[in-house]
């Protein structure tokens, strides 16, 4: 054996390569089994990024169905409540290019809360059936009310209301919710990066 190898360097090389391949293959195979990481299925990870408003603006009945659709290759830009930041996060997760939000599915807006004008409510329960997160309380022929802390602002209850008594109220900034904003370079005295501002406007 040794002499054969010594005589034919070609065999030596072949032998070495095959041997190394087998050894490393075995090592890798063992490592793959031994150190297997239990990751979340991709659908769960996508679902975690989606804002869970369950608004259906993407055309799916809820966030999880959309997460499943994304996992099957649907576009990632159909979620207005998640905004551009959400698209970015999805793009990072799925390692694809971040694309601008598809306006066909609505525009990114401030968070809202549904409010039922209670003296006008006739107790038809239509909004209750439409609410994807059971955030509306009430019974037939009795006044309904929105549990504000549970409301995702999806506005699915507005359309079914026969007496049009549901308003979407934007959460206004108050003393409690106020915070400093990141400094805005444009507002400072010198127009340092005015061109950047223009560029973003054009892009928008």
């Amino acid at each position: 054996m040794y002499e054969l190898i010594a005589q034919y360097p070609l065999f030596a090389a072949l032998f070495a390569m095959v041997g190394l391949g087998l050894i490393f293959g075995a090592l890798l195979g063992y490592a793959a089994v031994r150190f297997k990481t239990e990751g979340n299925p991709i659908v769960d990870q996508i679902n975690e990024i989606l804002p869970q408003t369950q608004c259906g603006q993407c055309g799916h009945p809820g966030c999880r169905p959309y997460a499943e659709a994304i996992a099957d290759g649907e576009a990632i830009n159909k979620c207005p409540p998640g905004g551009q930041a959400g698209v970015q996060a999805l793009a990072d997760l799925l390692d694809v290019d971040a694309i601008p939000l598809d306006e066909e599915h609505g525009e990114e807006s401030v968070s809202q809360v549904a409010y039922i004008r209670e003296d006008e409510c006739i107790g038809c329960t239509k909004c209750i059936q439409a609410c994807p997160v059971d955030a509306i309380l009430g019974a037939a022929k009795h006044m309904h009310t929105v549990i504000a802390s549970e409301c995702t602002g999806c506005d699915l209850c507005v359309e079914p209301c026969p007496v049009d008594c549901i308003d979407m109220i934007s959460e206004e900034e108050s003393l409690q919710t106020w915070s400093w904003q990141l400094p805005d370079p444009v507002s400072r005295e010198v127009d340092i990066i005015a061109t950047d501002a223009q560029a973003t406007e054009e892009a928008a």
């Binding site: 400093w180 400094p183 010198v190 127009d191 340092i192 990066i193 005015a194 061109t195």
Partner: protein
């Protein structure tokens, strides 16, 4: 009258970026004077021509990027780059050499990355290395020091820069070159056979190095930078030289003193390694950064292809700076362990 509404703090210390840059410029003055004294007006011409070009290129880049000129030129960063490159280039360099170097430094190394503060590499060193690789002949012909060769006057210096005449007659190998190419002589013999070696590390070189050391110490006193990076670098160079110095055999790498005072060691330690933009950020990080540069400088000088190595060492460590940052986060108040950006 409406009252202003801005965030705290409402007061500000006296330091500004422009002043930092001005201090750096001031601190180069002693070194430039010594260089001019020993090597003639070549360095001064280099610096002035480089500064003019740098301001022009900076203005060009800013106007292409539609930024206000006055505001950005006022930070003096372009001039600092120009002065540093001007000092690093051999005296009596032709005008186009400087132009190529400055263009690489300002346009490529700085503005392509987004301007001051965003450049991952030291612009002056990028310019230097581009030239060193592209034009090795011009970059390695250094003028002979006073007392060895004839020093050209100011007019000749200008001619050397702006006309095609070549001053081969007055150039000679630097001590580092000689040491690099030496493989038969003992160190002692080298000293005896080559006049330019001077007392410790070369006529002119040793005094220029001391002048840059003085300028650097003044900057330290002015608190423009901290001692960590330069001390770590000089310490590493000295330590390496001490470890590998065998007392003067032909294979020897030169004494610690020789390495500290020759070439760009001092200049690099106080004016290049301390460039904050491209270095590591924490004090601990800067210690590591400086020490690794020192190590690389010695390794390249003694075992590499080039006689001097500050530019390469700095650029290589610029690559490593973000990595160093990751592992050298300081321990934050109230935390038991040092932070690790990887956790």
């Amino acid at each position: 009258m409406a009252l202003m509404r801005i965030t705290s703090p409402h007061t500000h210390g006296p330091m500004s970026t422009s002043r930092v840059m001005q201090n750096v410029l001031l601190a180069t003055v002693p070194g430039v004077i010594v260089l001019t004294h020993f090597f003639g007006f070549g360095t001064l011409v280099n610096i002035i021509w480089a500064s003019i070009l740098a301001i022009a290129f900076e203005a060009l880049a800013l106007s292409l990027r539609k930024r206000p000129l006055g505001f950005y030129l006022g930070d003096y960063s372009a001039v600092v780059t120009a002065v540093l490159l001007g000092i690093a280039l051999p005296p009596y360099s032709p005008w186009w050499l400087i132009a190529v170097g400055i263009a690489s430094a300002i346009l490529m190394a700085k503005h392509l990355y987004g301007g001051l503060g965003y450049n991952p590499f030291n612009p002056a060193m990028v310019g230097y290395v581009v030239l060193l690789i592209s034009f090795p002949v011009q970059m390695t012909s250094w003028a002979a020091p006073r007392g060895v060769g004839e020093l050209p006057g100011l007019m000749e210096a200008l001619q050397a820069c702006f006309t095609p005449t070549n001053f081969d007659a007055v150039t000679m190998a630097t001590p580092l070159d000689v040491l690099k190419q030496n493989n038969s002589l003992l160190i002692e013999d080298l000293w005896q056979q080559n006049v330019q070696f001077g007392r410790w590390a070369g006529i002119g070189w040793e005094w220029a190095s001391l002048a840059f050391l003085a300028g650097g110490l003044w900057l330290l006193y002015q608190r423009v930078f901290t001692w960590h990076a330069p001390v770590a670098m000089l310490g590493a160079v000295a330590l390496m030289a001490a470890l590998f110095y065998d007392g003067g055999s032909s294979a020897s790498g030169g004494s610690p003193l020789f390495h500290l005072l020759s070439g760009a060691t001092m200049f690099g330690a106080f004016f290049i390694v301390t460039d904050p933009v491209s270095s590591a950020v924490s004090t601990r990080g800067r210690l590591v950064y400086g020490a690794l540069i020192g190590l690389l400088v010695y390794l390249i000088r003694v075992y590499g292809n080039y006689p001097d190595a500050v530019a390469f060492a700095v650029l290589i460590m610029n690559f490593a700076a973000p990595f160093i940052d990751q592992y050298t986060q300081p321990r934050t108040y109230g935390h038991a362990k040092r932070g690790d950006a990887n956790e």
